[in-house]
C-alpha cells in the first residue's frame, strides 16, 4: 500500500539508447535518478529494470509508489515507420476516395514534375462505404442503414485486418451514426479494434479527420499491447499506483484514455522536455523562455510566455497532418548527427542524419559523413577528456571527414569548415526560433534560451548570440530532462464544442455551453481521481473575423465587449492589423488541468569553489584558447565563472565561450549571461 507520509512518483522516459528514470518523493522533495540501457525488443523490460534501480537507490518498496508516469513514442514510431497494424476504414457512401484525394493539392514547396502523393496508411481497397448521411448542422438526412454496416463487416472480415476506423461525414456535429456503426462492427468483428473519428478528433474537415482516424486505428493494437504489458509488469511488482501517459498536449492522461485514442500520444515525444524546462525555469523565477531540445537527428523548439506552454492543432507526423492539440513547437532536421553535404558548390547541413549507427565519425562506429558532432570535435568543443570516460572520441576520424568532405572541396581551412557547418545548423535552428517567436509577435531578445537534450548546451550560447538573447539557462540534467518533465506534468484534457453556426458572441448561450463543458470536465476529474483542490479549469473562446479560416484562442472575459477587445488586440499583435469586420465565435473550450502534487524546490548546497580538472585547446573565432574543463557535479549553489569554460557532466557538455559568464542557481540550473553583449 502506498504510504501516507510520502508521495512517491516515478517517471520513465524510453529513448533509443537509454531509458531514463526520475523518481521524486513529493513530500520531501528528494529526487533519485537512474539510467539503464533500452531494450528495443521489449521496452517494458528496461521500464521495470529502471524503476527497480531507482527504488533500490531510494530504499523503497515498489508497492509504495503513488504514481507511475511514462512517455512513449510507440505510436509515433509506428506512424513514422509505417509499421502500424493493417487497418481499414468505414465511411459514408460516395466518399471512399476522400483519403486518397487529400486536399487535392501539390504541396507549396514541392515540384509538380517530380512530386508523388504519399501512400495513405489505408489504401482505397480497404475502405468500405455504408449508407447514412448527416447534414452540416447535425440533422440526419438518411438514417443509418444497419444492414449496410453488417455488409461492410462482411467485406472487412476478408481483408485480414487488425483494426478499423469509422469516419462519417459531419460526425463531429452528430456522432450517433458513428457510434452505432462502431457498436455493430464490434459485435460482428469481436477480435478487431474499432475506433471512431469522434473518439479521436471531433472537428470539421473530412480528410484530416479520416486520416487521424485511420492513424489512430493503425496504432491502437500496438499501443494497447504495449500499455497492457507495462501494466502487467507493474501488477506483477504489486504496484497499485495509476499509470499516467504523456500526451502531445504536454499533459498526462490515464491509460484508459490513451487506449481509446492512442493518437493523442503521437506528438508527445518532445512535450515532456518542454514541461520539464518550464518547471525548472519557474523555480529560477523565469517565465518567458524559448526551449531548444537538440538530439541526434532533430531539434524541437518551443516558446513559453508567462509560464504558459502554447498549444496548436497544426501538428504533423511524417507526411501526415495530425490536427490534435499538441505543444506548439517547431521540429527541424538539425541535430548532432546531421550530415554536411556539398552539392553544386553549396554547403548544406541536414536534414539527412548519420543516426545512432554509424553516427558521427568521431564516435568510431565507422561513420564516414561529416556531422555536426564532428565539427564540434574538430573545434575542441567536445574534448577527449570528458567525464567518466563513457565514450572515447576519435578526434582524428572527425578531422578526416571534415577535411575530406567539406574543407577540401570548398577550399576552406579545417576550422573554418567546421565553423561553417555549425553556422548553418545554428541558422536552421534560429529560423525555427523565429517561427515560434517573431512570427507569433514575440521578440526573442526578451526571452531566456533554455537548451537541452544531449547536444543542446553546445549550441545554446551561439544561438543566443544570433538571436540577440543575453540570458541562457542550462537545466541541471539537460540530457534527461524528459524524465524530469514527466514528474512536472499535470493531467490535462480539453472539452470543446463548435457552434452549429458561427456568429456574434451571445454571452448567455456561451455561459450555458461552458456549464455543460465544465460538467464534462468534472466527470473526467472524477474518472482520473483528481482531488477537488487540484482541479483547475479555464474557459477559452475561439474567435475570428467573419470569413477567416483560422481562429484565435482568447481567454473568455465574461462579456462580449471585453472578449472582442482581447481578440482585436491579439490580431493586431500577431498580424500587424485589425479589421472593422464582424467578430465571430466559432468554438468554446474548457481546458481542464489536474495538478499533480506540488513539489518542494530542490536546494543545492552552497559553495563558491570552481576548480578545473583540466585544460584543453578550443578554437573560438580565429584563435585557439586554453579552456578550463569543469566537472559540473562539483559545483555548488552560488559558484560563478567566466567563459571560456567547458562544463562536463554525464548527460551533456556545455560550451561557454568568451564573453559569457555563468553562475549556479540553487536549483542546480546554470544561468549564463552576456553582459553588454551586442545583438549580432
Amino acid at each position: 500500500m502506498p504510504s501516507t507520509d510520502t508521495f512517491l512518483s516515478v517517471a520513465v522516459d524510453i529513448g533509443g539508447t537509454f531509458t531514463d528514470i526520475s523518481m521524486i518523493d513529493r513530500s520531501s522533495g528528494k529526487i533519485w535518478r537512474a539510467k539503464t540501457p533500452s531494450v528495443p525488443s521489449d521496452p517494458s523490460e528496461a521500464f521495470l529494470t529502471g524503476i527497480r534501480l531507482a527504488l533500490d537507490e531510494a530504499g523503497k518498496e515498489a508497492a509504495s509508489l503513488d504514481q507511475v508516469l511514462h512517455g512513449t513514442t510507440v505510436a509515433t514510431n509506428m506512424i513514422l515507420e509505417g509499421k502500424g497494424a493493417r487497418a481499414a476504414l468505414v465511411t459514408t457512401r460516395g466518399f471512399r476516395h476522400v483519403l486518397d484525394i487529400g486536399r487535392q493539392d501539390i504541396p507549396r514547396k514541392a515540384n509538380l514534375f517530380t512530386w508523388s502523393k504519399p501512400q495513405r496508411p489505408v489504401p482505397a481497397s480497404r475502405i468500405v462505404e455504408i449508407d447514412e448521411r448527416v447534414a452540416a448542422g447535425g440533422e440526419v438526412l438518411q438514417p443509418l442503414d444497419e444492414a449496410s454496416v453488417r455488409e461492410a463487416a462482411k467485406s472487412l472480415r476478408g481483408m485480414d485486418i487488425e483494426a478499423v476506423g469509422v469516419c462519417l461525414l459531419h460526425a463531429f456535429a452528430n456522432p450517433a451514426h458513428e457510434r452505432r456503426a462502431a457498436e455493430i462492427l464490434r459485435e460482428e468483428l469481436p477480435d478487431i479494434a474499432v475506433t471512431t473519428s469522434t473518439d479521436v478528433l471531433p472537428v470539421v474537415r473530412e480528410f484530416e479527420r479520416s486520416l487521424t482516424t485511420v492513424l489512430n486505428a493503425s496504432v491502437m493494437p500496438g499501443v494497447t499491447t504495449y500499455v497492457g504489458r507495462i501494466e502487467q509488469r507493474l501488477a506483477d511488482e504489486k504496484v497499485e499506483a495509476p499509470l499516467l501517459l504523456m500526451q502531445s498536449n504536454g499533459g498526462v492522461a490515464g491509460s484508459a484514455a490513451i487506449r481509446q485514442a492512442p493518437a493523442l500520444t503521437a506528438l508527445s515525444g518532445p512535450a515532456a522536455g518542454v514541461v520539464g524546462a518550464r518547471s525548472i525555469a519557474a523555480a529560477c523565477g523565469i517565465k518567458d523562455l524559448i526551449t531548444v531540445d537538440i538530439g541526434g537527428t532533430s531539434a524541437d523548439i518551443c516558446l513559453i510566455k508567462d509560464g504558459r506552454i502554447g498549444l496548436t492543432q497544426h501538428g504533423k507526423v511524417g507526411d501526415w497532418p495530425l490536427p490534435m492539440p499538441m505543444v506548439d513547437m517547431v521540429t527541424i532536421g538539425a541535430g548532432g548527427g546531421s550530415t554536411a553535404a556539398i552539392s553544386d558548390e553549396t554547403l548544406t547541413v541536414g536534414p539527412k542524419s548519420a543516426g545512432a549507427r554509424p553516427g558521427p565519425a568521431a564516435y568510431g562506429h565507422g561513420g564516414t559523413e561529416a556531422t555536426v558532432t564532428d565539427a564540434h570535435v574538430v573545434l575542441g568543443h567536445l574534448p577527449e577528456k570528458l567525464l567518466g570516460g563513457r565514450m572515447a572520441l576519435d578526434v582524428e576520424a572527425a578531422r578526416t571527414v571534415i577535411r575530406d568532405r567539406v574543407a577540401g572541396p570548398l577550399g576552406l581551412s579545417l576550422e573554418d569548415a567546421a565553423r561553417g557547418i555549425l553556422a548553418i545548423a545554428d541558422n536552421h535552428m534560429v529560423g525555427a526560433v523565429r517561427v515560434v517567436s517573431v512570427e507569433r509577435g514575440h521578440d526573442p531578445r526578451h526571452f531566456t534560451l533554455v537548451p537541452f537534450g544531449g547536444a543542446g548546451p553546445l549550441h545554446g550560447t551561439a544561438l543566443a548570440e544570433l538571436l540577440g538573447i543575453s540570458s541562457v539557462m542550462i537545466p541541471p540534467a539537460p540530457g534527461i530532462l524528459c524524465a524530469d518533465g514527466l514528474l512536472a506534468a499535470d493531467l490535462k484534457a480539453e472539452f470543446s464544442r463548435t457552434l452549429p453556426r458561427a456568429g456574434a458572441i451571445d454571452v448567455a448561450a456561451a455561459e450555458g455551453i461552458f456549464e455543460d463543458l465544465e460538467k464534462q470536465a468534472a466527470d473526467w476529474f472524477d474518472i482520473e481521481g483528481v482531488a477537488p483542490e487540484q482541479r483547475n479549469t479555464a474557459k477559452v473562446a475561439l474567435l475570428r473575423y467573419h470569413g477567416q479560416g483560422g481562429e484565435l484562442a482568447i481567454g473568455w472575459a465574461g462579456s462580449r465587449e471585453a472578449t472582442e477587445a482581447a481578440f482585436t488586440a491579439e490580431h493586431e499583435a500577431l498580424y500587424g492589423f485589425a479589421l472593422g469586420a464582424a467578430i465571430e465565435l466559432v468554438t468554446l473550450r474548457v481546458e481542464a488541468t489536474g495538478r499533480t502534487a506540488e513539489q518542494p524546490p530542490i536546494r543545492l548546497p552552497a559553495s563558491s569553489a570552481v576548480e578545473p580538472y583540466d585544460h584543453v585547446p578550443v578554437h573560438f573565432d580565429g584563435e585557439t584558447v586554453s579552456t578550463p574543463l569543469i566537472d559540473r557535479a562539483a559545483l555548488g549553489a552560488g559558484a560563478s565563472f567566466e567563459g571560456p569554460v567547458i562544463l562536463s557532466q554525464l548527460d551533456t557538455t556545455t560550451l561557454v565561450p568568451p564573453g559569457w559568464s555563468g553562475c549556479v542557481h540553487e536549483t542546480g540550473a546554470i544561468l549564463l549571461t552576456r553582459p553588454g553583449g551586442a545583438t549580432q
Binding site: 460516395g94 486518397d100 452540416a136 553549396t346 561553417g420 541558422n427 469586420a581
Partner: protein, 609 residues
C-alpha cells in the same frame, strides 16, 4: 572548381570575386525561405475569402535590386513581375515604404494573366540603397465584371472581366492611397472580402520587407546582392547544362491543342519549337510559339509572359532537389522567346483572358512535349484543371434570399512520369480543395459524391493520374453555372506506349429523364433547387507500355476503384478471378503484346499535330 568559376564569370556579369561564401549563401537562402513561409502563413491565417484562405490561391517571391526574381514560388506560371512597375515608376524614383500594385494583364505583358490576380510589390532599402523587392500575389474572388467571380466563359473582352488596375503606387513612402483602394473595393460584389484580402496581402508584403531588411542588416548589402547573383547563376547554369543534354542542334517541334473557346471556335493549336543553334560565344536556345493559332473570340487567350517557357523548363530540370531554387535563372537560360502578336498566346488588347487556366495547363504539358520529342524524360500530358462557378440566391435561416458565389476548383489527373505514376486527383501547386464539410457549412449545396473517376488515367507502365467526380445537389433557389472543362476532343497524350487520359464532362440530373450534358466550356447554365450536377474531370496520359505494369499494381488499382476489371483485361492484359489475379490467363494475355508508337492521344501515332 576554379575552372568552373571562370567559365561562370565569362557567362555572367558576376562580381570579380565571390563575396558571399558558401556558408553565408546557404544561410541567406534558408532565411529567405523562412521569410516566404512566414508571409504565406500570414496570408492564409488572415485573408477573408475562401478562395485565398481555404483554396490558397496565393504566392510570394523575392527579387534582386534590379527586379530579377532571385527566389520564386514552385510554380511555372511566373514571368517578369517587376518591369511592368518599372515602366511607370523607375526604380531610382522609389522610396522606402513604397508599395506598388497591379492586375493589368496587357499592361504587364502577361506577368499576371487574368485580372483577378492582384500583385503587390515593395522595394526594400538599406542605408538609402535599394537592395531587393518583395512580392505577394493572390487571386481575388470578385473584382466586378460581367458575372460574380469576374471570370466567365461568356466574356468577349477583358473589360467584362473586372476592374483593371495599371501599375499603381498604393503606398507612397508610408502614405496609403485610400482612394484607389476605395475605388477598387467599390467595384467588387463582395467588398468586405476584397478589403480583408487586401489588408492580408499588404500585411504580408510589409512582413516580407521587414524580414529582408533583417537579412540585409545581418549580412550587408554586398553579400546579399552576391548571394542573389549566385542563386540566379546556379539555376541558369543547371538549366543550360540540362538543355544541352536534352536538345541537339536544330529545331524540335511539338504541337498540342485546346478544344475551343466556348464560343464555337476551335481547336486552337499551340505549335512550339525549341531551337538550338551555335552562337558567337555560346549556344543559343530559342523558344518559338509564333506558328500557334490566331487569338480566340472567347476568353481562352493566354498572354504567355516571356519568362514562362524558361520558368517551366527550369522547374522541370530542377526536379525535386530541395537545394535548388526556382528563380529567373530558368528564363535567363533561354536566349530568345518568340511570340506572335495576334496569336492566342499573345493576343491583341482587349481580347478576353479569364479562362486562360486551361491554356496554361496545356502549355506546361506541351513544353514537356518539346523535351519528349528530343531526348525525353518529361511527363505525359496533364489534364487541365476544372472549375465550376455557381452564383445565385438561397433562402437563409430568416427566410430571406441571400446571394452566394461558389468558385470550386476540381482536381484532375496529371501525366505519368518516366519513373512514377501521374498524380491522381490533384489541382495545382499549393491550391487546395474546399472540403465537403466546409462547403456544406457555408454554401447552398450538398455533395453526394467525391471520388476518383475510374479508368480516367491513361493506361501505361506508369498510369496517368485519375480525374475526380464531384456531385452536387443544389439547395439554392436558383443558380447560374459556369463550367470550365477542356481536353474532350484533344485528350491528354500518353507517351512511349502510354495511352491518352480520359475526358471530363458536366451533367445535370444524370440518369433521369431530365438529364442534360452541358457544354464543357460554358456559362449561363441555369440550375434550380433539387437539381443534381455531376462534374467529372479528365485524367493524365500514361507512360510506357501498359503490359509492363506490374500485375499487383493493376490488381490494387482495380480493388481501389481506379481501374475497371474490363480495362485491366483489355488494356493491361491482367485477368482477375474474384479479387485475385488469374496468373495463367494473364500470362497468356500478356504474351500477345499490342504494338505501340511514340505518342497516344486516342490512337497510337508517331507524332502529334
Amino acid at each position: 572548381m576554379l575552372d568552373r568559376a571562370r567559365t561562370l564569370q565569362a557567362q555572367e556579369p558576376a562580381p570579380e570575386r565571390t563575396i558571399c561564401d558558401p556558408v553565408s549563401l546557404e544561410i541567406i537562402r534558408g532565411a529567405i525561405a523562412a521569410a516566404q513561409s512566414e508571409m504565406e502563413a500570414l496570408i492564409e491565417r488572415t485573408a477573408i475569402s475562401a478562395f485565398i484562405r481555404e483554396k490558397k490561391d496565393f504566392y510570394t517571391a523575392l527579387f534582386d535590386e534590379n527586379g530579377i526574381m532571385a527566389v520564386g514560388s514552385m510554380v511555372p506560371i511566373f514571368g517578369d513581375m517587376t518591369s511592368p512597375v518599372f515602366d511607370h515608376f523607375p526604380p531610382e524614383s522609389m522610396k522606402p515604404g513604397d508599395l506598388y500594385w497591379y492586375n493589368d494583364c496587357y499592361g504587364s505583358r502577361g506577368a499576371v494573366s487574368h485580372s483577378n490576380d492582384q500583385v503587390l510589390l515593395a522595394p526594400v532599402f538599406k542605408d538609402g540603397k535599394r537592395c531587393a523587392f518583395v512580392m505577394s500575389w493572390a487571386h481575388f474572388a470578385d473584382i466586378g465584371g460581367m458575372r460574380p467571380g469576374s471570370i466567365s466563359p461568356d466574356a468577349t473582352d477583358i473589360f467584362q472581366e473586372g476592374i483593371i488596375v495599371p501599375p499603381t503606387k498604393l503606398i507612397d513612402a508610408g502614405v496609403t492611397n485610400e482612394t484607389a483602394l476605395a475605388i477598387f473595393h467599390r467595384n467588387s460584389r463582395f467588398p468586405d472580402q476584397s478589403n480583408g484580402d487586401m489588408r492580408a496581402l499588404m500585411a504580408s508584403v510589409e512582413l516580407g520587407t521587414k524580414r529582408v531588411s533583417e537579412i540585409l542588416d545581418r549580412f550587408g548589402t554586398e553579400v546579399v546582392a552576391d548571394a542573389f547573383a549566385q542563386l540566379l547563376a546556379r539555376t541558369r547554369r543547371l538549366v543550360r547544362a540540362k538543355l544541352s543534354e536534352t536538345f541537339d542542334y536544330g529545331t524540335h517541334r511539338f504541337t498540342d491543342a485546346i478544344d475551343g473557346d466556348g464560343h464555337g471556335n476551335g481547336p486552337f493549336k499551340m505549335r512550339f519549337s525549341l531551337i538550338r543553334e551555335k552562337g558567337e560565344e555560346d549556344d543559343r536556345f530559342i523558344f518559338d510559339a509564333t506558328e500557334s493559332d490566331d487569338q480566340a473570340p472567347g476568353p481562352v487567350n493566354y498572354i504567355m509572359n516571356r519568362g514562362v517557357p524558361g520558368m517551366a523548363l527550369g522547374l522541370f530540370y530542377l526536379g525535386g532537389d530541395p537545394a535548388q531554387v526556382c528563380n529567373a535563372g530558368g528564363p535567363n537560360a533561354i536566349d530568345e522567346v518568340r511570340l506572335r502578336e495576334g496569336s492566342f498566346l499573345l493576343p491583341k488588347w482587349p481580347a478576353p483572358l479569364g479562362m486562360r487556366g486551361l491554356t496554361t495547363m496545356r502549355a506546361i504539358s506541351a513544353i514537356g512535349g518539346l523535351v519528349n520529342v528530343a531526348r525525353g524524360g518529361a511527363p505525359a500530358a496533364n489534364s487541365a484543371y476544372v472549375v465550376t462557378i455557381m452564383r445565385g440566391n438561397f433562402r437563409n435561416e430568416d427566410g430571406e434570399l441571400e446571394r452566394f458565389l461558389l468558385a470550386d476548383g476540381i482536381g484532375v489527373g496529371y501525366g505519368a512520369r518516366p519513373n512514377a505514376d501521374g498524380i491522381d486527383a490533384v489541382y495545382f501547386v499549393a491550391q487546395e480543395n474546399y472540403p465537403v464539410e466546409f462547403l456544406e457549412t457555408g454554401y447552398p449545396v450538398r455533395l453526394l459524391r467525391y471520388g476518383v473517376v475510374r479508368d480516367s488515367g491513361g493506361a501505361g507502365k506508369h498510369r496517368g493520374g485519375c480525374g475526380i467526380v464531384r456531385e452536387y445537389e443544389i439547395l439554392a433557389e436558383d443558380a447560374l453555372l459556369a463550367v470550365r472543362i477542356d481536353s474532350l476532343k484533344n485528350p491528354p497524350w500518353g507517351i512511349d506506349g502510354g495511352m491518352g487520359g480520359g475526358t471530363g464532362r458536366a451533367t445535370v440530373n444524370p440518369g433521369t429523364d431530365k438529364e442534360r450534358v452541358l457544354k464543357p466550356l460554358s456559362d449561363g447554365n441555369r440550375l434550380v433547387r433539387g437539381d443534381i450536377l455531376r462534374m467529372e474531370t479528365g485524367g493524365g496520359g500514361g507512360y510506357g507500355h501498359p503490359f509492363d505494369r506490374p500485375v499487383e499494381r493493376v490488381l490494387e488499382d482495380v480493388l481501389g476503384g481506379y481501374v475497371s476489371r474490363e480495362a485491366a483485361e483489355r488494356l493491361y492484359g491482367v485477368i482477375l478471378s474474384g479479387d485475385v489475379v488469374d496468373e495463367v490467363s494473364t500470362a497468356r494475355a500478356r504474351a500477345d503484346r499490342p504494338a505501340t508508337r511514340r505518342f497516344h492521344r486516342t490512337e497510337y501515332v508517331d507524332a502529334l499535330d
